[in-house]
């Protein structure tokens, strides 16, 4: 768990961050979102004291981090940056082992850990451990960046726009990959982003910043459905209703249909389009509009029909701003 308590940063007369407070529970991802210069990166860097706070406290696991010296603190926090920052003079293995080596781990143990972590980030250790950063693609480098941050098994990870420099197609892939890794490692993650889609996709909580303050803190659904101000509503976009759909899966609103004259209960009629239960409703609705249908069949991996998704069910769900969709 990480608690930010009244954190502020002033540069002379300029206030970069003002009285920011929020709490991220154990194992959750909190995305710090906002326009450029809103204080989100400054807030992140005050947590590992790359920027010393002017006032306020940061508590990790209930312990005030001001009690720790900066070096010890930083070694206990994973840190991933946009430019990756792998050391070009070191092999991939040595890069991952930077923190274990600083902590004086046994060499054999740390190299074994590096191989495990390469497996976790889906890079073959036999192939990659002895390579150098320049021999990897941008996406592969950032996977190593994540592995390096995980090396000493820190409870908290700070990520500063980690996927911002990766092209859109690979970015989607590495986001999915990171979500898979996160399900495995369950870290408390603070993640800076200016990309709303990324935030909605990855966040358990979003802290939306504006001019050094938190404008709204809540789940992605809170910000999309119940924005507290015009700034939040504008930032989340006019299409936030549709974005909200991406929080829902077909499985969430699928239902069995009444028997039809042309088939048994819940079976597909000829010409019915099918989706899978894991598809998000934004995709499903797009498909419906594209095919001009008001319902689609939902089939599981084995091809059996689970039920149907109806357009009116989607609309009912969207119309209800107070119900939490996800």
């Amino acid at each position: 768990m990480i608690q930010i308590d009244n954190l502020s940063k002033k540069y002379g007369a300029i206030t970069a961050v003002e009285n920011v407070s929020f709490t991220v529970p154990e194992g959750k991802i909190c995305v710090l979102l906002g326009p450029s210069g809103c204080g989100k990166t400054t807030t992140l860097k005050m947590i590992n004291r790359l920027i010393p706070p002017t006032s306020g406290r940061v508590l990790i696991g209930g312990r005030d981090t001001a009690e720790l010296d900066t070096v010890t603190l930083r070694r206990s926090i994973g840190y991933v940056i946009q430019q990756v920052g792998l050391f070009p003079n070191m092999t991939i293995e040595d890069n991952i082992c930077v923190v274990p080596d600083l902590l004086g781990w046994d060499k054999a143990k740390s190299r074994k850990r590096a191989a495990e972590l390469l497996e976790v980030v889906a890079l073959d250790p036999a192939k990659f451990a002895k390579r150098f950063p320049c021999e990897l693609s941008g996406g592969q480098q950032q996977r190593v960046g994540v592995a390096r941050a995980l090396a000493a098994d820190p409870p908290v990870m700070l990520m500063d726009e980690p996927f911002g420099a990766i092209d859109p197609i690979n970015r989607e892939a590495i986001q999915d990959e990171f979500m898979r890794i996160q399900r495995q490692v369950r870290k408390t993650v603070l993640f800076v982003s200016h990309d709303i889609d990324e935030a909605v996709k990855m966040a358990d909580y979003i802290a939306l910043f504006n001019m050094g303050r938190i404008e709204q803190f809540g789940t992605p659904d809170d910000l999309l459905a119940r924005p507290v101000s015009d700034f939040v509503a504008n930032f989340m976009g006019n299409d936030r209703i549709l974005r909200r759909l991406s929080l829902l899966r077909a499985a969430d609103i699928v239902r069995a249909d009444a028997p039809r004259p042309d088939g048994g209960p819940g079976s597909m009629a000829p010409g019915d389009v099918a989706v899978s239960p894991g598809d998000d409703l934004r995709q499903v609705l797009c498909l419906m509009l594209e095919q001009g249908r008001d319902r689609v069949a939902c089939r599981d991996a084995q091809g059996a029909v689970v039920g149907f998704v109806h357009q009116r069910d989607i609309l009912v769900r969207l119309g209800d701003n107070n119900a939490t969709v996800a």
């Binding site: 790359l50 430019q83 990756v84 920052g85 792998l86 070009p88 003079n89 070191m90 930077v98 150098f132």
Partner: protein, 220 residues
């Protein structure tokens, strides 16, 4: 007779002297360069620390003046300080060698990408660990370029040592000029050039061994 055969012939005429004086020459070069490295590398590191930025520029001007003074004047100055002999030559060459090494150490360290430093700091390295594990390994290629320039200057200037009684291949060169004996002069000159090439080769070898393969791959 081809040019190559002529060169070999000149060298052969003075073979004994060439060997003896080359060793003297190398001794002066080695001592003055080693002393220069001992001073210049820490000076470059000191200058590259952000808190010394403004003083670094002033320091650089002092070194530039040292470089701008004619080598012959440096020798004379050194001779008035320590008298005739190899030490005077060593001091003069030391002054002449410091600048390129310092400048390249400084520039090499400053050219290390800031995001590497941010990553190193964020991962919890102390300033000393950042310097030794990240900054110097990544600046080493540029530092070596400075060292090689410095050594080329050093080997090429060392014949002047003869003028202050420091020995070295200058003995053949200047005596050859005085006696109008071109063979003798060229034997010294060719041997000096050969030494410069040898020293540069050794330095290149040391560079290959010490600069990480990852950086060489990245540069190619």
């Amino acid at each position: 007779m081809g040019a190559y055969d002529k060169m070999v012939a000149w060298l052969q005429n003075y073979w004994g002297e060439v060997i003896y004086l080359s060793l003297q020459h190398l001794y002066i070069v080695a001592v003055s360069s080693a002393l220069a490295i001992i001073v210049a590398v820490p000076a470059g590191i000191w200058m590259s620390r952000p808190r010394n930025q403004r003083r670094a520029l002033a320091f650089m001007q002092v070194l530039n003046v040292g470089q701008a003074v004619p080598k012959l004047a440096l020798l004379t100055l050194a001779m008035t300080l320590v008298g005739v002999g190899a030490p005077a030559a060593i001091i003069a060459l030391w002054v002449a060698t410091i600048l390129p090494i310092t400048v390249n150490t400084y520039e090499g360290l400053r050219a290390v990408p800031p995001h590497l430093l941010e990553a190193a700091e964020g991962l919890g390295m102390t300033p000393r660990e950042i310097l030794l594990r990240v900054e110097i390994p990544n600046a080493l290629a540029v530092m070596f370029a400075g060292l090689r320039t410095a050594l080329a200057i050093n080997v090429g200037t060392a014949p002047l040592a003869f003028l202050v009684g420091g020995g070295g291949l200058g003995e053949l060169i200047f005596t050859g000029i005085d006696l109008n004996d071109y063979g003798m002069m060229l034997a010294g000159a060719i041997a000096t050039a050969g030494l410069a090439m040898l020293v540069d080769m050794l330095c290149g070898l040391a560079q290959r061994v010490s600069v990480s393969r990852g950086l060489r791959l990245a540069a190619s």
